[in-house]
């Protein structure tokens, strides 16, 4: 299951005036188009096209551009997933707008179930979805894509209900890049082996593919042939990294400014790690200048092994500050972030006392979290992270729609007239 143009559809659910109009939703800081309604696609707007390039023609096109309303999308996504959970307990939420469901049944039952799910998402939550039904996840993704692009399916495609010749014709037409899980960088090597279309890959020898590529690619081949190899994941906890990265509304040109950014992200990472009972072993901090500014290029980055697995805000902040000596004063940085990797559950390895972290022992991280929980984010922070009056680099969302479902003072309005 996949929600059609998710962000744009979530906006339309509460603002029906957007129906039929070209709508795009912009990335953080109103940077570039990350979701395009079909009408916007027909205007030739490309994925990732920067807003400053589109803005001059927006009026003439009747184009509606919206800032990312993450509060709304998060809630609508949760509602869709809750609803899907009613159809199968075997649900894997794959991303904010995609999920895999495990269902059993006769062909007709499965098609009927798919149509019912689609109708329920539309009626109960207000968003259009497409459903692809197949014996493997890879084929289900393909069927879903087909359902989305061919109106004849009415949004629900059961792979095996389509005559084999038609399936093969489709697979012969589509490049291997279109397959879920095949990295773009591998296509050249596949092409060198004479594998261009999905059909070519389906007919490849899985063992030869394993020897030339990896077990992952072999699984893809087997899945295309109809043998399930990629298991359903209940919850994607075993995630091995957390990233905190944003673009800034105004570029940062001072080391002091970046020091503040690093402090804020380190504390966000600490809070997230603590919430999931995780500790990180490695921290990467980075900053970058604009891709649209060829005259000024600076991409400082550091990767540090932390002295011990930790979620301690003090240690993470200190580590993130290791980036600062690489920062050039006066250069316009438009993006920065930190990433923590090599995550492990906290407390399963007691460090030698000598290496025990003095802050963790005193529970500083937990204290900060408690205060933040009771008095709100931004009520307490360490050192440079600052407290009041959001720093001027915080996210720009000038074209933000109301947060209809999460904020009492932003509820949808209904006209009584």
């Amino acid at each position: 299951m996949d929600v059609n143009c998710f962000y744009a559809s979530a906006e339309r659910a509460f603002n029906p005036a957007l129906e039929g109009k070209p709508v795009i939703v912009l990335s953080n800081n109103d940077g570039c188009a990350v979701t395009r309604s079909p009408e916007a696609k027909r205007l030739g707007i490309a994925m990732g096209e920067p807003w400053f390039k589109l803005r001059p023609r927006a009026k003439e096109w009747g184009l509606v551009a919206l800032s990312s309303n993450y509060e709304l999308y998060g809630d609508i996504s949760a509602r869709v997933m809750e609803l899907l959970g009613r159809y199968s307990a075997w649900l894997e939420v794959y991303s904010i707008d995609e999920a895999f469901l495990g269902v059993k049944g006769e062909p007709d039952q499965l098609l009927a179930l798919g149509r019912e799910m689609k109708a329920a998402c539309r009626r109960n939550v207000g968003v259009p979805v497409c459903v692809g039904i197949a014996p493997t996840k890879t084929l289900a993704k393909l069927a879903n894509k087909w359902a989305k692009n061919n109106p004849a399916f009415g949004g629900v495609c059961r792979w095996e209900s389509v005559p084999a010749e038609q399936r093969e014709a489709l697979m012969a037409k589509l490049s291997v890049i279109e397959i879920w899980g095949v990295a773009t960088r591998l296509t050249k090597r596949l092409n060198a082996m004479g594998i261009f279309s999905i059909l070519d890959l389906t007919r490849a020898n899985p063992v030869a593919i394993r020897d030339k590529f990896s077990i992952v690619m072999m699984r893809t081949v087997l899945e295309l042939q109809g043998t399930p190899c990629i298991p359903m994941e209940e919850e994607r906890i075993g995630r091995d990294q957390l990233i905190f990265s944003r673009s800034f509304s105004t570029p940062i040109i001072t080391t002091a400014g970046l020091r503040q950014v690093m402090s804020v992200y380190a504390q966000m990472a600490s809070a997230r790690l603590a919430k999931h009972d995780l500790q990180a072993k490695v921290l990467t901090a980075f900053a970058a200048t604009s891709h649209f500014n060829p005259n000024e290029k600076s991409f400082p980055s550091v990767c540090l092994a932390l002295p011990m697995p930790t979620a301690d805000p003090v240690l993470l902040t200190r580590a993130a500050h290791a980036l600062l000596p690489q920062v050039h004063e006066g250069v316009k940085y438009v993006r920065a972030g930190i990433m923590v990797t090599d995550l492990r559950p906290s407390g399963n390895q007691k460090p030698l006392e000598l290496f025990e972290n003095p802050h963790e022992e005193r529970g500083i991280g937990i204290l900060l979290e408690d205060v933040a929980k009771r008095y709100g984010r931004g009520s307490i922070g360490l050192g440079h992270a600052g407290i009041k009056g959001g720093p001027d680099w915080s996210m720009k969302r000038d074209m933000l729609s109301p947060r209809y479902t999460t904020h009492w003072d932003e509820l949808p309005l209904v006209k009584a007239a």
């Binding site: 949760a78 609803l83 009626r123 904020h407 209904v414 009584a416």
Partner: protein
Amino acid sequence: MGVIVGPRVIDAGLSLVTALLAPVAVAAGYPSPAQDYFDGRIDLNEHLVKDVTSTFIVRVVGQSMEQAGISDGDELVVNRALEPKNGSVVIAVLDGELTIKRLRITPTGVILQADNPRFPDIEVPALSDLIIWGVATRCLHHV
């Protein structure tokens, strides 16, 4: 895709004090005789929202439903999963706007009415000619 901030779902209940709710026997002294009878305070969510996934809160702008007890500025609990019936107060999409009306289903057609004679009825041949966004189940009237 950027960092997704987890949504804060509107909670009409009294979650702030939930932690303090249950009376607990004190180590020394007579245990509260009420303790065995305490099952938690009234939770408005439980009574006003039957289907959390499909329920949305909207705010009314305008006077056309005054006689139904729905005033300008009131909040409505709207369930999108409900089948609209004759007499339901519905949120319909009219000219791209969410509009509150009373639904009348007659043998000859479907009518969207305001509960105020000053506003004209809207008539269509069948229910399928309308986009019904949801059915209002409760009005949170400001007294």
